[in-house]
């Protein structure tokens, strides 16, 4: 528990970012602040409603066209006339308002992959996105959170947002991950441990040697799924890897914010990752997590590798390591979607795409794919999919009678070649 009035030197990273963004000397959990937003992001699916609400507010111009990023990813290329019309509407708005950063089809990819790799996220920033997985940007030490369309419209109109300062849960992770155990397995394990509501309204700070050892791709996976425990933000303190990654992508000045020494946290969890097995989240909830050894043998009809959770280069490499020289089992389709044009390009150059094609997988252009249940791999009644995405809710990927299991790209790849949920460590 927190004791009385605290000195300014004892704030954690979340509180320090919010204090900066709201112009306060210090803030504490529970306090409602009016904060200035550094960046705002929306995509093709949330954009149209944001625009309607923006018109309703009645402001003529957005607050700052250079701080708004629009990415098309949810239904690309559009699968219906209706979707094409909505995308046209967003495109027109981008033009009308002179929005500087617009990633149309073929120019970007999954918004949360693009935001990091194109240098739109810097440590210490406050970023809001009209998408729940905006929490991904905490991987670079930003306070980033998802909002609905009307909240986003208010941000476009005013450049500010009211926020309740969250309590912060700290996850101190130590121990070296075993071979073929990844960031995905770690975050699934954590969500299983605290539950789907375990961090509701709260911030999750991930720290410790295991987290520091992860690359930015793995860190993105961890922060991305913090929303599945209800978190307002998932965040990692910026280190030399963060600074290097950001400097390679933007020439803008960087002013990282880190927790003060002796910063306080509502609760600290200590986790030993050294004995962690590959994990699987069993439908229909993300917190129903078991080690793969307890789930093995369940037959699948589809595997899916991609998304804002696991569609980055390290993810495709992990899948390729298993798929190389092997074939996806007859009766199973494996859908692989690189997270962005950049990821796709690197994967081509490294020969990963060739490995996937020779294995009998179908590779689609960057976007959200079947994760959102709109196109490119939706499921029929009674079908089972193992997916590297983030949600296994009823009907998430198609028929309400289908089932989605969540796992790492390696576990998905191993399962696709065996035709049933398989421990990737069983494949040499």
């Amino acid at each position: 528990m927190r004791a009385g009035r605290r000195g300014i030197e004892r704030l954690n990273i979340v509180e320090k970012i919010l204090a900066r963004a709201s112009g306060e000397k210090e803030v504490s959990p529970g306090q409602i602040i009016d904060a200035k937003v550094d960046k705002a992001m929306m995509h093709d699916l949330t954009g149209p409603r944001v625009i309607d609400s923006f018109r309703e507010i009645g402001v003529k111009r957005v607050w700052d066209p250079e701080r708004i990023i629009v990415v098309f990813d949810h239904d690309v290329p559009p699968s219906t006339i209706k979707a094409a019309e909505l995308q046209k509407k967003v495109r027109n708005f981008v033009r009308e308002q002179g929005i500087k950063y617009f990633y149309d089809i073929g120019r970007g990819g999954v918004c949360h992959v693009v935001m990091l790799e194109k240098g739109h996220v810097k440590p210490g920033e406050l970023i809001v996105g009209a998408d729940s997985h905006t929490v991904t940007y905490g991987a670079l030490g930003a306070f980033a959170t998802g909002v609905g369309a009307t909240d986003m419209a208010a941000v476009l109109a005013t450049g500010s947002i009211w926020l309740r300062v969250p309590e912060t849960l700290k996850f101190e992770v130590s121990g070296k991950l075993q071979k073929r155990v990844y960031a995905k397995d770690l975050i699934l394990h954590i969500i299983g441990m605290i539950g789907a509501e375990g961090a509701n309204y709260k911030a999750m700070l991930f720290s410790g040697q295991t987290i520091r050892d992860l690359g930015i791709d793995g860190r993105a996976t961890i922060c991305n799924m913090s929303i599945e425990a209800g978190a307002k933000v998932g965040i990692i303190e910026p280190d030399e890897k963060t600074i290097k990654y950001v400097k390679e992508r933007t020439g803008e000045p960087i002013t990282p914010i880190r927790s003060d020494e002796d910063a306080e946290f509502t609760k600290v969890y200590e986790i030993d990752a050294s004995r962690l097995e590959p994990q699987v989240a069993i439908p229909p909830s993300v917190d129903n997590v078991k080690p793969v050894s307890e789930v093995g043998g369940i037959e699948i009809q589809q595997g899916f590798i991609g998304t804002c959770t696991n569609g980055r280069l390290d993810d495709l490499r992990a899948a390729a390591e298993i798929l190389k020289g092997r074939r996806v089992k007859d009766g199973v389709r494996l859908v692989i979607i690189p997270g962005s044009q950049e990821v796709y390009d690197h994967a081509l150059k490294e020969g990963l795409i060739e490995i996937f094609i020779k294995a009998g997988a179908i590779v689609c252009g960057p976007g959200c794919g079947p994760c959102i249940g709109i196109s490119r791999g939706v499921l029929a009644d009674d079908e089972v999919c193992i997916s590297s995405a983030n949600r296994n809710f009823v009907g998430r990927m198609g028929s309400p009678k289908s089932k989605v299991y969540l796992a790492s790209p390696a576990t998905v790849a191993a399962s696709a070649i065996k035709g049933k949920i398989t421990d990737p460590r069983e494949v040499d």
Partner: protein
């Protein structure tokens, strides 16, 4: 502000994908969205809600995506109020922003499907008229009441900017 309706009862972790599946998000019209409200768990919900209902649910109502279509679909299906033990944070904000009344209260064992409920949104007092009992919900925070009283977030921002 008082609302009344028959209770429709659901469990914990009602996510936004069951409230309004992703494939319907291209339907922008609230009345079209309303036809698919709660389809993932209760395809009959739009019929049940026709005369006006109050949803009673467990923990973490509205978890998952940021889609504002979730509260919009419920509101336009004629949901008068959602009472849950707790709400996922984005749904909570969205509901207030678009004017779907919500309250936090635990009604386990105090409300059954079909009970007639009457809710005072300001005081947070919930009356189960079928059973003749009253339950106090957690009052909404002052800012939420301010936004609701303004008629939603767009009107609230218009006022703040001096546009009305």
């Amino acid at each position: 502000m008082r609302v009344e309706g028959k209770a429709v009862v659901y469990g914990d972790n009602i996510d936004t994908d069951v409230i309004i599946p992703g494939r319907y998000l291209v339907l922008q019209e609230p009345s079209e969205l309303a036809k698919h409200a709660m389809e993932g768990v209760d395809p009959n919900f739009p019929q049940k809600a026709r005369e006006g209902v109050i949803i009673v649910a467990g923990r973490n109502f509205g978890c998952g995506s940021s889609r504002e279509e979730a509260p919009v679909a419920l509101k336009h299906a004629n949901t008068k109020c959602v009472i849950a033990e707790s709400f996922a944070r984005i749904f909570y904000r969205n509901a207030i922003n678009i004017g779907l009344p919500i309250l936090e209260a635990s009604l386990r064992d105090k409300v059954s499907e079909g009970d007639l409920l009457s809710v005072d949104l300001v005081s947070g007092i919930i009356e189960n008229k079928t059973r003749g009992i009253k339950i106090q919900a957690k009052p909404l925070p002052p800012l939420a009441i301010e936004i609701i009283s303004a008629g939603g977030l767009t009107r609230y921002v218009r006022k703040k900017l001096g546009l009305e």
